[in-house]
Amino acid sequence: MAIIEECGDICRPKIGVYALTSCYGCQLKLATVQKIMEIVQAVEIESFYMISSASRMGSDVDVAFVEGSVSTEKDLEELKEIREHSRILVALGACAVNGGVQSWAEGDKDYKKLYAEVYGEGKITMQGRQATPVSDHVKVDYFLPGCPPEEDELMYFISAFLFGTFPEPKDYPVCAECRLAGNSCILIEKGEPCLGPVTTAGCKARCLSHNVPCIGCRGPVPHGTAWFDSLAKLFKEKGFDRDYIRDRMKIFGAHDENLEPMLDKIFGGSK
């Protein structure tokens, strides 16, 4: 959607920033990018509750950024409403894209059990749900992963929409960037449980540059382009068991349908 061509300098694209259930970090990141004052000049912000009282639901926007997982019935209603009123919907950050860390027990504990473990017999009138990614419920046009997303990617997305082009998703793992950053491999050299081989790039291997193994916050690499042959298979060789690697991969990849097939590839055979 070529906003600039359509509008010339007469109108400004309408942007909405919405939250479902999350830590508000993606919105915080968006609100504090260095060029935020320039962005607010270039767009019209229809809704951004976290920072503006002039926000409302239900107004039409060109681009909706949605942070958070669907974790209540109210989240679901709001998400559908946002979808109805937006031309382009961007899932912003790990919770919206992958269901977020709140999905860590996905497949092990259902909503009833989670509720009982936290609230016991206590009754709450609002209805919660098992956390799910936004794309389980509505059509998502773009995914902007990360916990939180990177500033340069946010800027790239926003400028792509402004200039009428489309942001290109990354489909290669963190390892590629880690090599470019000149790090030695923390998995090969130190035997640390680094999820770089199976995690979407874009962070420029920040954690690896701090000698911290990748925890997978940018979610699973799309299109089966994880680095299995060269690296992911090392998990087994380095002595990690299947359950531990599953636990680690599930922090940000619990809803990935390729999770068990990937574990099969790494550890051989299905459980």
């Binding site: 935020i36 473990e117 009754k123 939180p148």
Partner: protein
């Protein structure tokens, strides 16, 4: 939700319902219902969905769990990180080095500076100066917004340099850091903090023209953590109350009780069955004597604004803390730069037996408590987290009721006026709604 001022006066519509309080962290609403002039119910409804942190981390490895807990909240990720890591270290009997403790405290101060700057400039000040957000405020007062952003930046940069990024710092680990900052980086932090001293006073300067609303005046109990070094810090091991009593942070489960209420995914906390306040104001009320330098001077000058009976004083208390912590971080960074051990290694956790660890600290918006229990394989067997917002919710509701009743008494009928006043009081608490909804009982 608050609409522009000067809108047409309507007859009072009952009940008042704000479905989404803007300019706070998280999704919450306010509901007030009346019978005639009498206020029946005042509720701060928390719609933010549950995320079950204590349940989803059961059976999970402790290293991974302490990386997940900070995802509770972005505004105070470092607070959750440091407190969770300390609880984990207590559980596995790991003693971090002095250098690690100092670095964590500087990181934590970075979080305070960032969080207070965001709250004061982006969320609270627009109310007082009459704007619906900081962007419109910034168009007319670019200098105010610039000062706020400069403070936010230095707070964020401290966390980025020490923690790897300013939201969800992965460089902070059980036993230490993946990578240490360099001497040069610490000196640069100190120099930048020195250069920002004037900006640190901007929030207070803009707030002093405003008075606390007498409608929310009421005696109250405050709780705060006694600073470990008897100055003014977010770290310590004893909780003190304005009633004169104190208890060990380890024993918080015995003193702070929680209950489930129907209108909120956040539980409500009580101290000796009474609502209480925890906040920058509480820290100031109990330990303000530990402040020094310019912060102490200004706090004395504006003591009338720092009234412990009025929650709106919390804005002023945060503004004073901003001045203090900019100064403290400068001093600590300078000291650490001069005796940095650049090759000190992280102590790798070795877990050989089961244990339980407790840690409490002062997050920017008040007390934060963690209890973690691990088995001999390093897996979490129980977790309990109480966040500041969960602690002060009953007091916040009591203040909203006081305000609603006083306005009804005064004959204020315009729902928008009532609504925006209620929102301003909510904001004074600087609630972190995402935080509040993640509380569980130890099993």
């Amino acid at each position: 939700m608050a609409k522009a001022k000067g809108s047409k006066k309507k007859s009072v519509k009952h009940p008042i319902s704000i479905d989404h309080v803007a300019r706070i962290e998280g999704k919450a609403g306010i509901e007030v219902s009346y019978t005639g002039k009498k206020v029946d119910v005042v509720q701060f409804n928390i719609f933010e969905g549950p995320r079950f942190f204590e349940s989803i981390t059961l059976g999970k490895p402790i290293n991974e769990a302490v990386a997940v807990y900070p995802r509770i909240c972005s505004f105070c990720a470092a607070a959750h990180k440091v407190t969770g890591v300390q609880a984990a270290e207590n559980a596995i009997a790991l003693r971090p080095t002095e250098q690690t403790k100092k670095l964590r405290e500087i990181l934590y101060i970075g979080d305070f500076i960032e969080s207070h700057a965001l709250h004061l400039f982006l969320l609270a000040l627009p109310d007082f100066l009459g704007y619906h957000d900081a962007f419109t405020l910034g168009e007319e007062h670019p200098d105010i917004l610039r000062a706020g952003m400069a403070l936010k930046d230095i707070g964020a940069d401290i966390q980025t340099i020490l923690g790897s990024r300013y939201i969800h710092q992965e460089n902070v680990l059980i036993g230490g850091f993946g990578k240490l900052p360099t001497k040069k980086q610490l000196e640069t932090i100190a120099d930048r903090l020195k250069g920002i001293r004037n900006d640190a006073e901007e929030a207070l300067e803009n707030l002093v023209s405003y008075r606390n609303w007498p409608e929310v005046d009421a005696e109250r109990i405050h709780l705060a953590l006694k600073p470990y070094d008897d100055t003014y810090s977010m770290l310590g091991g004893t909780v003190q109350s304005t009633e004169g009593t104190s208890f060990r942070a380890d024993a918080y489960k015995m003193r702070i009780s929680e209950s489930v209420v129907p209108h909120s995914f956040a539980k409500h906390s009580h101290f000796n069955n009474e609502p209480f306040m925890t906040s920058a104001l509480s820290r100031f009320a109990l330990f303000g004597d530990g402040l020094d330098g310019r912060a102490k001077e200004l706090a004395e000058m504006y003591s009338a604004h720092l009234d412990p009976s009025n929650p709106m004083s919390n804005n002023f208390a945060q503004a004073v803390e901003l001045i203090y912590f900019v100064n403290r971080a400068e001093r600590m960074s300078r000291e650490l730069a001069s005796d940095l051990k650049p090759y000190e290694r992280r102590i790798k956790p070795k877990i050989e037996k089961a244990g339980i660890g407790v840690s409490m600290s002062e997050a920017p918006r008040g007390l934060l408590a963690y209890t973690l229990k691990v088995d001999k394989n390093g897996k979490i067997t129980a977790a309990d987290i109480i966040t500041p917002t969960a602690m002060f919710l009953p007091m916040l509701e009591a203040d909203l009721r006081r305000l609603a009743e006083a306005l009804a008494e005064q004959g204020v009928k315009d729902p928008e006026t009532i609504g925006s006043k209620l929102e301003t009081v909510v904001r004074a608490y600087d609630p972190c709604v995402s935080c509040s909804v993640h509380i569980a009982d130890i099993q």
